[in-house]
């Protein structure tokens, strides 16, 4: 009994330490324009007092503080690595016993959304700057779900590009996916491993979709692509010239290496199939059992407003679909170009329609 009491006490102490934030009155410069409906929502959200965000630890500091400042609603942050986070999200949401209000996700929530385990977000988006389609690329905020209700995805960026070392290979020689099959590139390509979940897998599935399984086989097996599971090794190996071409490199690594003077690495956008769009974990989902549903909706409005998107994309160095969020720290090569027809992997059509059929066949092709 004594131990129990000690635990409780110390537990409270920890929560207190980790949660302590100076409470300040809400700032006056947000939102830019409001509606009575939003003001009502904001009041209800404030009455709930706090919102529990569940996402990458990157959002735990400045991003959360900014929200607190703007709305007067306290943020409690939960974070974790990919797998753990996802398991907890799925299980708690499914059991309708969520301990969090907003989950930052990719497209894991799709099944849950279809079965009524998520709160619809679209109806609670009340700020004019969020609902006005003119503020968004392609005229509207994108959602993963076809109903455009549950899983808003305000970020889309281009991936599936080549990383080449210009001092060991002339970039003009690798302009299309077909160029990668050149005999002299055998053994000179490195890729993030498609056999584990991640960017490498995304590329292999993409290639199977646009170029067919034979292409996938002749590339990975025929060209003896070196497969590594640590992202940084792709950039590292290309920068050293050990490999001429890299697939599945993380753009943040590329930016960092170039910044440190390793300018021989360059990104090439293939001319035949110019990559695909992903949402970079910027999708949000609110479980039906969220403890602070109103505060969660206030957060959704804030997050999708110019202020929230500026904060978010600044931290992630990702471009936002909001047209009024420009000139961020992201590299040009990941910004979707107008007029190019990208495959959108952050969409129900891909996730439910194509992916399941392709993925297992791609896996079967890979060396084991």
């Amino acid at each position: 009994m004594f131990l129990l009491r000690t635990f409780t006490f110390a537990a409270l102490a920890i929560v207190a330490v980790s949660l302590f934030v100076p409470q300040s009155a809400a700032a006056q410069d947000w939102p830019a324009a409001t509606t009575p409906a939003f003001e009502a929502l904001l009041a209800e959200g404030r009455a709930e007092g706090e919102v529990v965000l569940f996402g990458d630890p990157l959002l735990a500091e400045d991003f959360s503080r900014a929200f607190e400042r703007d709305t007067g609603i306290r943020v409690v942050f939960m974070s974790g690595t990919q797998n753990d986070k996802k398991l907890r999200f799925l299980r708690e949401t499914e059991a309708r016993a969520a301990t969090f209000d907003v989950f930052f996700t990719a497209y894991e929530g799709l099944e849950l959304a279809r079965n009524g385990y998520l709160l619809p977000i679209a109806p609670s988006l009340l700020l004019p700057e969020v609902t006005d389609g003119a503020n968004w690329r392609e005229g509207a905020l994108h959602y993963i779900d076809d109903t455009a209700t549950y899983l808003p995805t305000p970020v889309q960026y281009v991936t599936g590009l080549f990383l080449v070392n210009t001092s060991v290979i002339d970039p003009a020689r690798v302009q299309s996916w077909a160029d990668l099959l050149a005999p002299d590139l055998q053994g000179r390509i490195i890729s993030h491993d498609p056999r584990v979940v991640g960017a490498g897998e995304g590329i292999a599935n993409y290639l199977a979709h646009v170029l067919g399984l034979e292409f996938v086989e002749s590339l990975y097996r025929g060209q003896q692509v070196r497969l590594v599971t640590e992202y940084r090794q792709v950039t590292d190996s290309v920068a050293r010239g050990t490999h001429a071409v890299g697939l599945g490199a993380q753009f943040r690594d590329i930016v960092k290496y170039r910044r440190e003077g390793l300018t021989q690495i360059e990104v090439v956008t293939p001319t035949d199939h110019s990559g695909y769009l992903v949402g970079g974990g910027a999708v949000i989902a609110v479980p039906s059992s969220a403890p602070h549903p109103k505060a969660a909706m206030v957060f959704a409005n804030w997050y999708l407003s110019q202020r929230g998107q500026k904060m978010h994309t600044g931290i992630y160095t990702l471009p936002s679909d909001r047209l009024d969020v420009t000139d961020g720290p992201w590299p040009e090569f990941i910004v979707p170009q107008a007029g190019v027809d990208y495959l959108n992997q952050y969409a129900e059509a891909w996730v439910r329609g194509t992916l399941g059929g392709i993925a297992s066949r791609v896996q079967a092709l890979m060396p084991r």
Partner: protein, 572 residues
């Protein structure tokens, strides 16, 4: 337990036996709950939003997929590091504890330090040293002109075994074996030396036989844990197409809709493995006579027993090992944390202190450090005492109750943190009584303790068994109750083992990510999550800094703990 109550127990053996049976049942409940949950989940074939539907789909998928079987094969092959590590650790502990080699204590701390070092940054250090294309050691070897090709390739089974041995297997085994070897009376060596036996002969014929129980515990513990290891295999194995069991588990969990039942089935197989190993060991232990009570326990050192030549040879061997396996990768880690780009020595200005600044002088770091430290202490202090209590009761049990309880205690060991966490979440969410506990600290502490319980309890149990029997008897005769004997006699006499258990729990909490993410209440930020944040950001160097700081802090804690242990335990 007062004397009167004790009398009552003796007078009413049935009451005592009932209480013992209750204890065994309690241990069973604590240890088996998540395992049962996991077993049940492995038979779930329902899709999302459906209620539980029983079926064996996951199990047939498990055995139908050759990838699973091949993974199992590789797992067994790579487990070769267990006997190798056991041998190396035995020698190292022997040099440290028995030979009294000059600098022994320093080396012991080095092993602890190696154990504390963060896995991923150290692994990157090894890659930088042993990469077949640009590894520093390979370049060095080629420069000598003795080799036509790079002699080392870290992307191989050998590379995996080596990094494991250096980073975890040998250090953890040294930690587990040292207390047991300390309990062996010095007179054993002295007598053998006087009988004219050489050091090596004494090790083989006197020390090793006495160490069999400890060796078995360390072997089983590390053997089963080696099934769980994941990251090293993932990074070093993939280029060589080596995948192990745990890689499969992670792969299954990593799917868009995690294939939880299959992962659970796979984990259940691990539990069965462990069950077999544990029963096998108990049979063996029963056939073999009980280990003798080893004298009055640790004795303060007088003159070293062995000749100076032998002792210095021991020091030399340890020094070489420590240099290659501990200092070298650590130096890489430190160097890396001061580099603009880890591993790029050719940049115009490769060095910077920016990562240190970024990692240490942030609000995040301070809050994460405080809450991690609090959580670690919160688990480690009561955890050590709870484990000691369990071990103490266990030591008093007889017959089937004892064998059953000892087996039960071991079982959670087979579960990887993420699986255990998932099982616990399942219990919280599907058993209504526990519903209110979901999202509080209790399940988290329970889970963290449960993960270390097998090793902690077994270590203490082995250590208690070596406590002089008559010392405990003497205390019993004074009329002291069981608790008082535990607190005043048994615990102080077993300080070395207690310290080790404390530190094992402490470091587990410092390192854990999965369990905390799965079941911690909202708002818990730990250092390991902070390190993860930096690596998310592509800031691998800052992540190394945090890893290094955690390792140094752990070392300081362990030095402090040992100092206290020495004072309390009358042990040097």
């Amino acid at each position: 337990m007062s004397a009167g109550l004790a009398t009552a127990f003796r007078r009413m053996p049935s009451l005592r036996r009932t209480l013992e049976t209750l204890f065994v049942a309690g241990i069973g409940l604590v240890a088996l709950a998540p395992i049962i949950a996991i077993g049940v989940m492995s038979f779930d074939t329902s899709t999302l939003s459906e209620p539980f539907r029983a079926g064996t789909a996951a199990w047939s998928a498990l055995f139908a997929d050759t990838a699973n079987l091949r993974a199992l094969g590789y797992t067994v092959v790579l487990a070769i590091r267990v006997p190798i590590g056991l041998f190396m650790a035995l020698i190292a502990v022997w040099i440290i504890v028995r030979l009294d080699a000059p600098g022994a204590r320093l080396f012991e701390y080095l092993f602890w330090f190696a154990y504390f070092l963060p896995g991923l940054p150290v692994l990157t250090g090894w890659i930088l040293l042993l990469d077949p294309d640009y590894g520093l050691l390979n370049r060095l070897a080629l420069a000598t002109g003795l080799f036509s090709g790079a002699p080392f390739n870290i992307y191989s089974a050998g590379g995996i075994v080596w990094t494991h041995l250096a980073g975890q297997t040998v250090p953890v085994m040294v930690i587990l074996l040292a207390p047991a070897m300390r309990m062996i009376d010095r007179a054993m060596d002295e007598a053998a030396v006087l009988a004219g036996a050489g050091a090596w002969h004494i090790l083989r014929r006197v020390i090793v036989p006495l160490m069999v129980p400890a060796l078995a515990v360390a072997g089983i513990a590390a053997g089963v844990k080696s099934f769980e290891s994941f990251e090293t295999e993932q990074i070093l194995g993939a280029p060589a197409d080596i995948f192990v069991y745990s890689n499969r588990i992670y792969y299954l969990l990593n799917q868009i809709t995690p294939r939880l039942p299959e992962a659970m089935a796979m984990s259940t197989v691990l539990v069965l493995f462990l069950l077999a190993a544990s029963l096998g060991y108990q049979r063996y232990a029963r056939r073999r006579a009980v280990p003798p009570s080893l004298g009055d326990g640790p004795r303060s050192g007088g003159r070293p027993v062995y000749r100076a030549g032998v002792r210095w040879a021991g020091t030399a061997a340890l020094a070489v090992y420590a240099l290659v396996a501990i200092v070298l990768p650590f130096a890489m880690l430190i160097a890396g944390s001061f580099m603009r780009l880890y591993g790029f020595f050719d940049l115009p200005a490769p060095w910077t202190a920016a990562h240190w600044h970024k990692a240490l002088f942030s609000v995040d770091f301070r809050t994460a450090a405080t809450s991690t430290l609090l959580l670690a202490l919160l688990c480690a202090l009561p955890g050590t005492l709870i484990f000691a209590g369990i071990a103490w009761v266990l030591a008093g049990l007889r017959g089937w109750r004892q064998s059953l309880a000892e087996t039960l205690v071991w079982l959670p060991w087979a579960l990887p943190g993420i699986i255990l966490g998932a099982g616990l979440v399942e219990i919280m969410l599907s058993v209504p009584v526990f519903g209110p506990l979901h999202g509080t600290f209790y399940p988290l502490i329970y889970a963290l303790l449960l993960r270390e319980m097998p090793l902690g309890v077994s270590m203490l149990r082995a250590s208690f068994a070596q406590t002089g029997r008559e010392m405990v008897d003497a205390a019993r005769l004074t009329g002291a109750g069981s608790l008082r004997i535990l607190a005043r006699i048994v615990l102080p006499l077993n300080m070395p083992a207690l310290m080790v258990v404390f530190l094992l729990i402490f470091t587990l909490v410092l390192r854990d990510i999965s369990t905390i993410v799965l079941i911690a209440p909202p708002g818990v930020q730990t250092l390991s999550l902070l390190a993860f944040k930096h690596s998310l950001n592509g800031d691998f160097e800052a992540a190394s800094v945090i890893g290094t700081v955690v390792a140094l802090a752990s070392l300081a804690v362990s030095a402090l703990a040992f100092q206290m242990a020495r004072r309390v335990g009358g042990w040097r």
